[in-house]
Symmetry: C2
Subunit: 227 residues, 2 copies
């Protein structure tokens, strides 16, 4: 099995021409030991985080597959902390899709002149480029098309899928009296027809969730969701 990519929170191994294996690690993104889902560096390592991330991802991806929402998920092996997925072609060198229900994080850093922290947003979706060096810049649908990263049609499909998937996760969380503030998803083009599918993971490290108005750390969040 060939290691083809060493990521911040996962390693990727080639399985065959159609599939790869994702190995979940215990690292989460953040700065100086403080968790931040928007950060570009590994901030801390939490024992059991990889296992928890995989179990959460399995939980949500199987739910989405059952609803016929396209994902790259095939199956998972909890004992060996890995997941088999379909190969996906990235948009450009990779983009991140954020769905926001409350104004926090980089939304406030950008638009704090117009909105207070914690104010409601109506499933606002935005796309940023994966580019650590340039701090993951925001990009519009028009620029995505002009730079040959995705077509306007793909943009429409992708943002509509994002709202649908985020709603599934938001609803699941509210069953536990938790509130989803924002979530970061990744998509790719899968199969010969290049259909757009959710890829990567859905885990506590990719979302900001509050309970009783208090922010819940990823590890605790993961345990609550799976309880």
């Amino acid at each position: 099995m060939k290691l083809i990519y060493k990521g911040k929170t996962k390693d990727v191994h080639e399985l065959d021409s159609d599939k790869v294996l994702l190995k979940f690690k215990d690292d989460v993104t953040g700065n100086d030991g403080v968790f931040d889902p928007g950060a570009n560096t590994v901030g801390l390592s939490i024992e059991g985080m990889g296992n928890l991330g995989l179990r959460l991802t399995k939980f949500f991806f199987e739910k989405l597959n059952d609803m016929d929402i396209p994902t790259h998920y095939v199956d998972s092996d909890l004992d060996n902390q890995n997941m088999t997925v379909l190969k996906a072609k990235p948009f450009g060198k990779g983009v991140e899709v954020i769905c926001r229900y409350k104004a926090v994080g980089s939304f406030i850093r950008r638009y704090g002149m117009y909105i207070e922290e914690g104010q409601e947003l109506d499933a606002y979706v935005e796309i940023t480029l994966k580019d650590d060096e340039r701090n993951d810049p925001l990009i519009t649908d028009e620029a995505l098309e002009m730079l040959n990263i995705m077509t306007k049609k793909e943009y429409e499909i992708l943002t509509s899928l994002t709202r649908k998937i985020s709603k599934v996760i938001k609803d699941e969380l509210s069953k536990k009296d938790l509130e989803l503030y924002d979530i970061k998803l990744e998509f790719g083009r899968v199969g010969n027809d290049n259909h757009i599918a959710l890829i990567d993971e859905i885990s506590a490290g990719n979302m900001r969730v509050y309970g009783d108005g208090k922010y819940i750390e990823p590890f605790e969040l993961g345990k609550i969701i799976l309880s």
Copy 2:
């Protein structure tokens, strides 16, 4: 005549309930004595710059008014270095609209992973918020609507006007063998019907222009256009 606003390159005085007077100054934006149309600070003062800016603005606004493209321009007084304009209501606390024909400046700082400096862009339009403290952040049509800054319909009118106006300026420059790389425009809502009109100024300090592949400083540029 009441001074109602002291701007970086112009002061604004109230004339009556419908009109204000813009007084052009010799200051241009930049950093440490170097001109930069995207900067938020006054970088240098050039004697005669205010007069030149007003003459250029008069030249372009009269041309646009003749073409029935809506602007706030009424008339100008070159001797006293001021211009009478219709009052305009801003979008939120003010936005800037950029039209790009070549990738330079902040476009490269954001998207340099995908494009080389100087590569062609097809009259790409983007909007940034006027917010010095947050470095004039980029904003999408969806966020503009969500933050009640402008509706999607206004966004469509505004970007279409931007392409039309930028084309007029680009064509005018090419008569002098000059090439427009990018330009920054401002718009407001004017009159009782709140129609969208070009406001502020069109001067050499708001555009990047090249001749024979060489960047042309605003003062020199102004003199060439008016020669």
